[in-house]
């Protein structure tokens, strides 16, 4: 196990607590440092201090959508190196394009495959 202080940091943003429970387990199991946010504003607050390496972001959330959150993050110089993975039920081609246009590095669909999610995060951290 990698020591906590040097461990990579992941922020999970989703309005469904039960989904966060699953992702949290998977990433902690890989040894990453995990924080959780249940809506957009909360996510922005935490990200500004936590400076996560990766943000796993839901799209359809009350109040502020994931796309808006991504846009805000991309405007912050301190979060320049944070990578964004959209994890959403919105699966049309147009949604995907919007996602990448908002500055995401990956776009994954719900329901997701556990191994695939873990692999994506690992690779993203290993190869930048």
């Amino acid at each position: 196990m990698i020591p906590p202080d040097s461990a990579a940091k992941v922020l999970i943003v989703d309005d469904e607590p039960n989904i966060i429970v699953a992702i949290e387990f998977l990433l902690q199991h890989e040894g990453y440092q995990v924080k959780k946010a249940y809506d957009g504003p909360q996510a922005l607050d935490i990200a500004a201090q936590f400076l996560p390496d990766i943000i796993i972001l839901d799209v359809m959330m009350p109040g502020m959508s994931g796309f808006e959150v991504a846009q805000q993050i991309r405007r912050q110089p301190s979060l320049e190196y944070s990578k964004i993975i959209f994890l959403t039920a919105k699966g049309t081609q147009r949604d995907k394009e919007t996602g990448y246009a908002k500055g995401a590095e990956a776009y994954m669909l719900k329901p997701f495959d556990n191994d695939e999610l873990v692999m994506t995060v690992n690779e993203m951290l290993a190869y930048g």
């Binding site: 469904e16 989904i19 429970v21 699953a22 992702i23 359809m60 959330m61 919105k90 719900k110 329901p111």
Partner: protein, 913 residues
């Protein structure tokens, strides 16, 4: 100046006119383009309106009546737009009907009536001959002034052969005969004549301007000098004012009206502006050139009048100032120029007027007379009708001019130039009601027109020419002072006790009032003939007929051979043959093998015949060869029936059309709704799939974790994950159930237990079941006073017929909505249940943000969900209110929403008891 010089110059001038007219005619006959077709020539030729009266008389009038001379020029200028509209319509009609004169126009309008033709012609001849005579008088006057200036007036010539005026008249007659009767059909243009008239308009304008400039800048130092000197004298200062003219405002209006009528109705104006018109497109040019011309020719009238008055102080007739002012200064060449100007004004008027009158006279009086006497148009008649008609016209011209000459010699001396002109204006104004009514009022009938014309003409004659005859002693003078038969209300200058007006205004007023009145009243009370009806429709709605079919309902037939013979006789063989060829080409058929000419060809022949001899005469002639047109009652009924059917049909079409429009609108709306529904459905599916994906995601991921990491997981952790999976599975079941519910309610498959249901129980039960949910979200639940009372006593019931489970669903749905949408911080929901008459009313009121007005209709639709920043992602399925509404309606009730942003939302359900 010698008589020889003056007469020589006059004849030389007439020769010049001959030259102009001859050259233009020659160019045209050689097929070369001619200036005669220019709109400016048309506009200038209209200035035939300005006669010797304008040229000499305006100055005379200004000297005695100040600015009142302007009335007859301001009228046409101010009313130019009105004139434009009317003239355009008249021209279109005239070209369509090949109208030859004003008499022809009016007679054609009222069923091609011979009688109207005769009456109009008589009014015109009696009204205009004195007018022509004053032109001759003006010329004679001019010659006398030039040859005897400063001497006593010469004794009248002992014999006509020695009278210069006679020879001048002869010269004018010759010119008219040569150039005014070249073509049988006046609609075929007299280019030479028209160009000569336009030329004369320029000559008279230049001549008058020359005299004006000479007087203003030669005798005086410009307008300022002249006017300031004139203002120093009382008699000349008075001339500057309108009030000094002694003409009342009422007289001014009458004067303008008369001149507006004159500009259309004077035979010469009608001839130039309508008959000789080649294109309606020339009218716009004329509309500014002509008023400009009037302005220019009037500019120097006042200066010349002022100068004459100051110079001669009454010792010289003011009508001759234009000549005598240059003469008194020894500028006899300028006097000669001025005389030529006046002479040209007289010539142009006489030539055109005589041409127009001769056409009217021959077509409406001579030809009908000859036809009646069977002297014309008979089979055995070997003389060529065409040249014979022209001969009649030529003789008419000579007759008119001799009449005018002798009128001038005998009675012409008693009036000044302007007065005679106005008497003529008043005479032709009598044609106005019949003409204007005929143009715009379909109801006007032949009898009405005849009545109006006769009454107007009689009043005119009684009030103007007869008293003047009395004054020169031809008639007993007593009737002027005492009235006819000593009846005071018949005094010709104060008819029916109307005093205080000058004779012209007085006569114009009464004659026109009675004329119009009789025209209208008689028209309303008489029935028009069939021909009168069709012609009325054609005149009033001319635009309908241009380029279209003739609407002649009359069925007429004739033998082609007879028709051919008729045209040969009246139009000459060459013309007749070419007309028949035209007709064959137009209809792409050959007449050689046919014997009978049908209505269309008969009409064609008649129209062209009308071009030569006028509509009424053409009608008479055609009657001799056309089969007696027996229009049976059945036929009239058939025509009427067809019309009725057509009207009915078109009304049906209109109704159908309107129906189609409504249908289209409905379809558009329906389509719009469908599209909306489609969009809603797509949204619904997105929502449902998202709602399904979310629980599936957690279930899939967590079950996989348990499977993969079974050994590492704590028991409690496993337990937690299983609990989540169960809850998420229940979520999926709920969603599926609700979607299925909709299908059930929609297809009405849900079982209906119609049983007595106590609403108090249903609602209090629901509230009890949901109390816990409200408490969890910290939302206050209130009961209204009425509901509290119902709850307080067990025995209180509110029974309706219905399905208990479904009604419970209604209560649950409304309450969970209220819970979801009420204020998030200090939520409060009030429930009410009460009986209102035969209705049980149940309502739920929350204190949320309210439903936007635009959404209020839509929220009851399937799949509609409120999206907004306030509510965020919709948590429902978008089906709750839809289901609720369906249930309420299945129970015969209604549901409505009342909401204003900020004051919460009230849902009210009414169910019948």
């Amino acid at each position: 100046m010698g008589l020889g010089v003056v007469v020589g110059c006059s004849l030389a001038y007439i020769s010049l006119l001959f030259l102009v007219a001859w050259r233009v005619d020659k160019r045209v006959s050689e097929g070369r383009s001619s200036i005669a077709n220019s709109p400016y020539v048309y506009a200038l030729s209209l200035a035939v309106y300005c006669t010797a009266w304008t040229f000499f008389g305006s100055v005379g009038r200004a000297t005695t009546g100040g600015l009142s001379f302007l009335g007859v020029y301001i009228g046409p200028t101010l009313l130019a737009p009105l004139w434009y509209a009317m003239l355009r319509k008249i021209i279109l009609i005239s070209k369509n009907q090949r109208i030859t004169s004003i008499a022809d126009f009016i007679s054609a309008r009222y069923g091609k009536s011979t009688n109207i033709g005769i009456i109009v012609t008589l009014i015109a001849v009696l009204g205009i001959v004195p007018y022509i005579s004053i032109q001759l008088k003006a010329v004679a006057f001019g010659i006398n002034t030039l040859t005897h200036f400063g001497e006593n007036a010469p004794a009248p010539a002992a014999h006509v052969w020695l009278d210069a005026g006679f020879w001048v008249t002869m010269a004018m007659a010759l010119f008219t005969v040569v150039f005014g009767t070249r073509k049988l059909d006046p609609n075929e243009r007299h280019e030479g004549l028209v160009t000569a008239i336009a030329f004369e308009s320029i000559i008279k304008l230049v001549a008058f301007l020359a005299v004006g400039l000479f007087v203003t800048f030669g005798l005086y130092g410009g307008f300022n000098d002249l006017f300031s000197k004139a203002l120093l004298r009382e008699d000349t200062a008075r001339m500057f004012t309108f009030s000094g003219s002694g003409v009342s405002a009422f007289s001014w209006n009458i004067l303008m009206l008369l001149s507006l009528f004159a500009i259309i109705l004077l035979p010469r104006q009608f001839h130039i502006s309508v008959v000789e018109n080649t294109s309606p497109r020339h009218i716009p040019t004329a509309m500014w050139v002509f008023p400009l011309y009037l302005l220019l020719i009037n500019i120097f009238v006042l200066p010349v009048a002022l100068a004459g008055k100051m110079m001669f102080d009454g010792s010289v007739n003011p009508d001759t100032y234009v000549l005598s002012l240059p003469l008194s200064q020894g500028a006899s060449w300028l006097a000669l120029v001025a005389f030529i100007g006046g002479f040209s004004a007289a010539t142009s008027m006489v030539v055109v007027e005589a041409t127009a009158l001769s056409i009217m006279f021959s077509n409406h009086i001579v030809v009908p007379l000859l036809i009646r006497m069977r002297r014309l148009g008979r089979e055995k008649d070997l003389v060529d009708g065409a040249s014979r008609l022209l001969d009649i016209r030529r003789i008419s011209i000579l007759l008119m001019l001799f009449l005018a000459y002798f009128y001038q010699k005998s009675v012409g001396g008693t009036y000044d130039l302007v007065s005679v002109g106005l008497i003529s204006f008043t005479a032709v104004a009598q044609l106005a009601p019949a003409l204007i009514g005929g143009l715009y009022w379909k109801r006007g009938t032949q009898q009405g027109a005849i009545a109006g014309l006769l009454v107007g003409f009689l009043i005119w004659a009684y009030c103007l020419p007869l008293p003047s005859m009395g004054q020169v002693g031809i008639l007993p003078k007593s009737f002027i002072d005492n009235g006819l038969f000593n009846l005071p209300f018949l005094k010709p200058y104060a008819l029916f006790g109307l005093t205080g007006l000058d004779p012209i205004t007085h006569a114009a007023f009464w004659s026109l009032v009675f004329n119009a009145w009789f025209y209208a009243i008689v028209s309303i009370n008489t029935r028009p003939s069939m021909l009168n009806l069709t012609q009325a429709d054609l005149f009033v709605n001319i635009h309908k007929y241009i380029g279209g079919q003739d609407s002649d309902v009359l069925k007429r037939e004739a033998k082609i051979s007879e028709l051919r013979a008729l045209l040969n006789r009246f139009l000459g063989e060459t013309r007749a043959i070419s007309l028949f060829k035209d007709y064959e080409a137009m209809h792409n058929l050959s007449l050689a093998n046919q014997k009978i000419a049908h209505a269309d060809l008969v009409n064609f022949a008649e129209t062209h015949l009308a071009g030569a001899i006028g509509a009424a005469s053409a009608r008479l002639v055609m009657d001799s060869v056309v089969k007696e047109e027996v229009i049976t009652l059945e036929e009239v009924m058939r025509v009427l029936e067809q019309t009725r059917e057509a009207v009915e049909h078109s009304r049906l079409m209109e109704a159908k059309n309107a129906e189609l429009k409504t249908l289209t609108l409905q379809l558009t709306t329906a389509n719009e709704q469908l599209k909306n529904l489609d969009r809603l459905k797509a949204d619904f599916i997105t929502t449902v799939t998202h709602e399904l994906r979310t629980p599936v995601t957690s279930i899939k991921s967590l079950s996989r974790i348990i499977l993969d990491h079974s050994n590492e997981l704590e028991k409690s952790q496993k337990h937690e994950y299983f609990k989540i999976m169960v809850a998420e599975s229940e979520r999926i079941s709920r969603l599926i159930n609700q979607v299925l519910d909709i299908e059930k309610i929609q297809s009405d498959m849900a079982p209906h237990h119609q049983e007595p249901v106590n609403l108090v129980e249903v609602i209090s039960g629901t509230v009890a079941g949901m109390r816990q949910l409200f408490a969890e979200k910290n939302v206050e639940l209130r009961f209204s006073a009425a509901f509290s009372t119902l709850l307080a006593h067990r025995e209180n019931t509110l029974i309706i017929q219905g399905d208990r489970d479904r009604l419970t669903q209604v209560a649950v749905n409304l309450l969970s909505n209220a819970l979801k949408f009420c204020n998030q911080e200090a939520g409060c929901v009030e429930i009410n249940l009460e009986q209102k008459g035969r209705w049980a009313c149940f309502s739920v009121h929350d204190n949320g943000a309210g439903v936007p007005t635009a959404m209020q209709q839509m929220i009851f639709e399937k799949f509609t969900q409120l999206h907004s920043n306030e509510y965020g992602k919709p948590h429902g399925t978008g089906l709750g209110l839809f289901i609720t509404k369906n249930i309420v309606e299945q129970h015969g009730g209604t549901i409505r929403v009342k909401s204003e942003p900020g004051s919460g939302t009230l849902f009210e359900v009414r169910l019948p008891i």
